[in-house]
């Protein structure tokens, strides 16, 4: 099965009904799959902090949300994660393209890659790293865990994971 369709299947299995996205080259396939699925309301946003506001609203409305974004945006969402998602104890799985890891072609992406895990660790955000194609087997349990714990979680999917598909 195509990995992007598998990701969306895992969203549905975990009752995710609202997804907001900011594009990344690595994420184009999964964004297309989200857009096509008729049980998912897809709202593209202009900025990841805005997206976290949309997800908070969706959760208040009784719908499980998810944000799909690039790790380079983590720095501009620290306040939204701390003062909105964590402060009000809301669940938010973040499917993050982990740019700047081995296989990266754009040198500047490495700069934020070096800060990605330290920021997540500093914020006590449970983080998972999808590196091989088989790691997709863990996604459904991670999503289930996110809503059980009612916390934000980071699912970092690197170039090796996306290129394996």
């Amino acid at each position: 099965m195509d990995i992007n369709e598998r990701i969306v299947d895992d969203f549905i299995r975990n009752e995710i009904g609202f997804v907001t996205t900011v594009p990344c080259k690595q994420l184009s396939g999964v964004i297309d799959a989200v857009e096509k699925h008729d049980q998912i309301h897809h709202v593209p946003c202009n900025h990841e902090a805005e997206g976290m506001g949309l997800c908070a609203g969706a959760f208040l409305g009784g719908t499980r949300p998810c944000i799909i974004m690039q790790n380079t945006a983590l720095g501009v969402t620290v306040n939204s994660l701390a003062a909105l998602i964590q402060y009000y104890q809301m669940p938010l799985p973040m499917l993050i393209s982990y740019r700047g890891e081995v296989g990266e072609k754009v040198a500047c992406q490495v700069e934020m890659a070096m800060h990605t895990k330290p920021i997540l660790q500093q914020m006590n955000i449970p983080s998972y790293h999808l590196h091989k194609a088989d790691d997709i087997e863990e996604l459904s349990a991670i999503l289930n865990h996110t809503f059980m714990a009612s916390k934000p979680t980071a699912i970092l999917a690197d170039a090796s994971f996306w290129s394996a598909t």
Partner: protein, 186 residues
């Protein structure tokens, strides 16, 4: 009229509605005038009020009012494009535009200078944009909440603040009681 008076004037039309309120003095004023479990007070994250309101409106059926400010809209300017392109007919966005960052000491915003938020909202593609004065806010908000058509109201008023209490309600309590109100309406 200053923002606090605008807020007080709309209480009769919003007291039973789902309200998402902007961070700082706007939430504290709403809390002071009419604390309700159907109010979601923002305690952090400048700029996200309209986004939370839109996300809520898109995911359940009851009318939603987001009470935002000019400074907050300028912080998250992309929100007007997202709102325009994802219309929710149960959503009303009230921007109380006093031309200043009220909560931080009334430093002027660009909305009080050359920038027209109602024109920006229209340029973003919002179909139903109303600009009014503080005295007209209650009537316009009341109409919008009953209108079943997504409405952006830019309400112009004076800068200025009044003393207000801090909101000591725990954030999880604010969230939990609000979600109970959402469920009861759906």
């Amino acid at each position: 009229m200053i923002r606090s008076e605008v807020t007080k004037s709309i209480i009769p039309v919003i007291t039973d509605e789902l309200v998402v309120c902007n961070i700082g003095l706007p939430s504290q004023e709403l809390f002071m005038h009419d604390d309700q479990p159907s109010n979601f007070y923002m305690l952090g994250t400048m700029g996200l009020c309209s986004s939370i309101g839109l996300g809520l409106a898109l995911n359940q059926n009851a009318p939603v009012l987001a009470i935002d400010g000019d400074g907050s809209i300028l912080t998250n300017f992309g929100t007007l494009a997202t709102i325009a392109n994802n219309p929710a007919d149960n959503f009303t966005l009230l921007i109380i535009d006093n031309g200043s960052y009220g909560s931080t000491g009334d430093q002027p915003t660009y909305a009080g200078k050359k920038t027209s938020l109602s024109k920006v909202a229209k340029a973003c593609g919002c179909a139903n944009v109303i600009e009014c004065q503080g005295e007209e806010a209650a009537e316009e908000v009341g109409k919008a909440l009953k209108g079943n058509q997504m409405t952006i109201i830019v309400c112009k008023c004076e800068s200025g603040n009044v003393p207000v209490p801090n909101i000591l309600t725990h954030p999880v309590s604010i969230r939990d009681r609000f979600m109970t109100e959402v469920e009861a309406r759906n």
